[in-house]
Amino acid sequence: MAILLIAEHDNAHLKDGTAKVLTAAKAIGGDIDILVAGEGVAAVAEAASKLGGVRKVLVADGAGLKNHIAEALEALIVPLAASYDTIIFAADTTGKNAAPRIAAKLDVMQISEIVSVEAPDTFTRPIYAGNALMTVKSTDAKRVVTVRLASFQASLEGGSAPVEVVDGSAAAPKTTFVGQELSKSDRPELVGAKRIVSGGRAMGSSENFVIIEKLADRIGAAVGASRAAVDAGYAPNDYQVGQTGKIVAPELYVAIGISGAIQHLAGMKDSKVIVAINKDEEAPIFQVADYGLVGDLFKVVPELIGALDAAGV
């Protein structure tokens, strides 16, 4: 039994998600190799080699791999897959984009967004926006799996796996990377954040969204939004928490002016503590909130910042 784990990184830093996928891989069991594919990724490979319980780190370094284009990852990973029973990815944009290509080439039915490992070939995953959990057993010769990061704890460091160079010449001849606009922020990343403050449609405007950001900055939280707030243009796309946005499970999730549509709950209901602030006391969000406060958010949120100061938090 051997597992190939595809590392999540931005060519400079290994992302936290990799250590969570490693936990899922350990639950499957067997020798685990981590593949770092990108350009100029020596530091990423070194960080990956320090994770505990890894047999070796494979490094594919090349210009064609820099932007993690799915076609290039397919060209790299499909030949490598011959030596492995399981290919495992984080269910982030790179994994969601590339994993099914590799599965199709291997003639394997992928298992998406697993939340638990029942046996090496048996996994549980949410369906219908998390309103049901399905346990499936794969009958394929190999498994291709993506992992919901919010459902696994990070594995600890403590290893010193050898690093082995593999061919990094894979490319995507029909696809050209034109550019990207990434939100720049000093706040924590939404997926993996310990605290999140999210705003909904009741924010009313993008200017008002500053209230959410102020509270988030006060408690060192990431900022999220409901689909309604994103659709209305109050917050950027990548803030969206929900079935088709980001799935999060922070220690503290503060939902402000969010009614609680099932699609939103699907993205945050595994949070440890949920706080809801809404002026509608019948809002469905209160049915999942540990602490609910009925009131006008424009009054309550500034008061809350004041109360944090007063309590010396």
């Binding site: 590799i102 967004e113 990434l182």
Partner: protein, 249 residues
């Protein structure tokens, strides 16, 4: 340029499904069904391409039971020109769907396949990528903007952290994200016209594709329910609870 738009019939997104007591699946008896929302966005995008002159013909295709004809008629009413149903009562997994679609692509030779990024029933998010791989075509998933036609496409994608733009040498596969467009409602005259548009029915066997499932469903269960907590009177009580009771501050 011909555009192929695969669409799926799913439970309406407003329905909260119930898990069957015997844990074999979710109860779909007498539940409202509709076109998957991401598929509607794909149909809308194809229709806009045709309105702008970039597309010449739109072919909608669905894989599913006889009832999926209704979903195809909805696509025709929105502006697709003709439809193909690959009729089966089996539960067809994304890999088999991609194989069936690859056969349809072989026969139809479209310049673009545009489809939803995921279906809101099984939430797999696989079919478009698998189809692109089987065809050896480039892909742009999670699209929020699609430009170009006939062999050259520029697609803006929603990625973790922001937006990414790719240029693709077509033919290509594009999967739609939520903010690509707002689908139109079909007008009554267009609904009437759609009834007369051609709809072919085929079987998976005719296409030579084995659709037997690869994943064995052992059980479907209800997720643990979250209990509603307490209402607090004011922010002071809230801060005190967060600090002293739950210890998250």
């Amino acid at each position: 340029m011909k555009v192929l738009v695969p669409v799926k019939r799913v439970v309406d997104y407003n329905v909260k499904v119930r898990v069957k007591a015997d844990q074999t699946g979710v109860d779909l008896a007498n539940v409202k069904m509709a076109m998957n929302p991401f598929c509607e966005i794909a149909v809308e995008e194809a229709v806009r391409m045709k309105e702008k002159g970039g597309a010449t013909e739109i072919v909608a295709v669905s894989i599913g039971p006889d009832k999926a004809q209704e979903t195809l008629r909805s696509a025709l009413a929105m502006g697709a020109d003709r439809a193909i149903l690959i009729q089966t009562d089996e539960n067809v997994e994304p890999l088999a769907v991609a194989k069936l679609l690859a056969k349809v692509v072989e026969a139809e030779q479209p310049g673009l396949v545009i489809l939803g990024k995921q279906a809101i029933d099984d939430d797999s998010n696989q079919t478009g990528q698998m189809l692109a791989a089987l065809l050896g075509w480039p892909q742009a998933t999670f699209a929020s903007k699609v430009e170009g036609s006939e062999g050259k496409f520029s697609v803006t994608r929603e990625v973790d952290g922001g937006l990414q733009t790719l240029a693709l040498d077509g033919p290509a596969v594009v999967t739609t994200d939520l903010r690509l467009n707002e689908p139109r409602y079909a007008s009554l005259p267009n609904i009437m016209k759609a009834k007369k548009k051609p709809l072919d029915v085929k079987k998976p066997d005719e296409l030579g594709v084995d659709v037997s499932p690869r994943l064995q469903v052992l059980k479907v269960t209800e997720p643990p329910k979250r209990q509603a907590g307490v209402k607090v009177a004011d922010v002071t009580e809230l801060v005190s609870k967060l600090k002293n009771e739950s210890g998250v501050l």
